[in-house]
Symmetry: C2
Amino acid sequence: MSDNGEARFEVLGIGNAIVDVLAQVTEDFLARHGLVKGAMRLIDEVEAHDLYEALGPTIEVSGGSAANTIAGVASFGARSAFIGKVRDDELGAIFAHDIRSVGVHFETAPAGEGPTTARCLVLVTPDGERTMNTWLGASQNLSPDDVDEDLVKDSRITYLEGYLFDPPHAKEAFHKAAEVARAAGRKVALTLSDSFCVDRHREDFLELIRKQVDILFANEAEIRSLYRVSNFNDAMHAVQQDCPLAVLTRSAAGSVIVESGDDVHVIEAFPVKKVVDATGAGDLFAAGFLAGLTQGRPVAECARMGALAAGEIIQQMGARAIRPFHEVARENGF
Amino acid sequence: MSDNGEARFEVLGIGNAIVDVLAQVTEDFLARHGLVKGAMRLIDEVEAHDLYEALGPTIEVSGGSAANTIAGVASFGARSAFIGKVRDDELGAIFAHDIRSVGVHFETAPAGEGPTTARCLVLVTPDGERTMNTWLGASQNLSPDDVDEDLVKDSRITYLEGYLFDPPHAKEAFHKAAEVARAAGRKVALTLSDSFCVDRHREDFLELIRKQVDILFANEAEIRSLYRVSNFNDAMHAVQQDCPLAVLTRSAAGSVIVESGDDVHVIEAFPVKKVVDATGAGDLFAAGFLAGLTQGRPVAECARMGALAAGEIIQQMGARAIRPFHEVARENGF
């Protein structure tokens, strides 16, 4: 199986397998609980319980950063697969149903014991911004054994979620996947996930990016955190030295695609009437971009597909598309 | 404790305790699966599994007809309580959280064994109409023992869901609650739930309405089914003989409130931009109406509050209000 050989899957994602629990909250609620708006933080089971008790009515939707991306890639019509750990419980069954229902190959064995399926308490403020509180549950027990080497070898791109660096076993699984993919001549993509996550693992991320990453996804806060610089332009020039292709998203300010060599593309955000829930904007940008790559499109066009998917997802609750993206793409001339 | 005495709760609801599983489907999907659009049907566990497998990505939201109504009543600010049976599983915990989170007293002991918490596969077509497929699970084991007599005696109105007539034990619980409420000089309200449900239990419903029901809620199809008449006007006049107060809803055509004696009130529907998901329209109409009654408003005004709540709920996914109704009511001059 070579770089240019046939592959069973276009994109394989590896990440935390999480069910999102969405609730509307006020700004005041965030302040009272000392929460930093827009960030993701890890919480333990006790805090997850206490915070859940403090919330109003909730909606449960499958989530997980790389899982959202892969569901999006599949929704665009690309053959895709996912590796992530749930428990054999009800939320685990919901997660598995939802990702398979859009055609994603998902066969990671659920844990038969230990913590329950991971959940993320997503607090949505009236401005549509989301603040995430994640109890990793079964997800943290993803281990190298769960990484099916044949699956990695048989996927053109292996897409890895930075959040996997938080649980120690998952980090090992992450490294194994990257090594197997590279050895098979496949591409490795990485999303930095969150600026605080970058802060926790900066040196490891930099080493990985310089040695093994072909495509890097990051938003402005993440890429600035990675290089500890105060402006976007410096971060952009730094990443150009370290990685062949960097996809940098800037919310309403659009995105910048940086190729090693000199190519820089500045792409507009997709116009949006009202932000209902920002959950999944970055994940779905990556989905559109990757789907474009699998179709052999130029990177600027891939970025426009990413912008389209991100714009679509923030106009609904949750990070899984209600309408298939291949329809949305067709309607928008892709 | 007398008719006019103090009561701990304004409204107590008794009904199936269900988590809704919402999915978007095409008209063609309904046709292929032989489903009657807009209806509710009961399915067994095997069919629930098979239909779920055939669905695309889903959203999970607490549901149940009377439970939706009671959550709505509480969201309007009225003291309320609910009796219904879940299992001690994850979906049961979600149901309990969501109803308590709006201030509803809910202390029915969850089942420690037997079927899992009930779920309803709600198929939403592009026109916003919903078609429901219910696996009753733990809900069907609601028994007379679960009906706390003191709770019934201490509630001004006991609101009963017609769907409870389907599971035999629940039907006994239903009758017990109605008898205890009447004996304590409290009011009994009933919703007919569904025209097919009426068809299954017509004689029992008629007997109950004539003997024990103070307030009847029904939509046009249900009230016509109850009296086996082909037009609304005949049904309206029939119910006027049988029940002191009937609240008849007609979707976009508004509602008609019929009091025994001569009073008939014809109330407009609330203007709605776009129907996103019709789930819960009837349940929330009842919520607004009951909330109005607890505030001592005239029935025509109660119906306008019902129309407001119904109009609000069909512009979002799921039958639990994202925004508190007491705010929505205030903004609309109630």
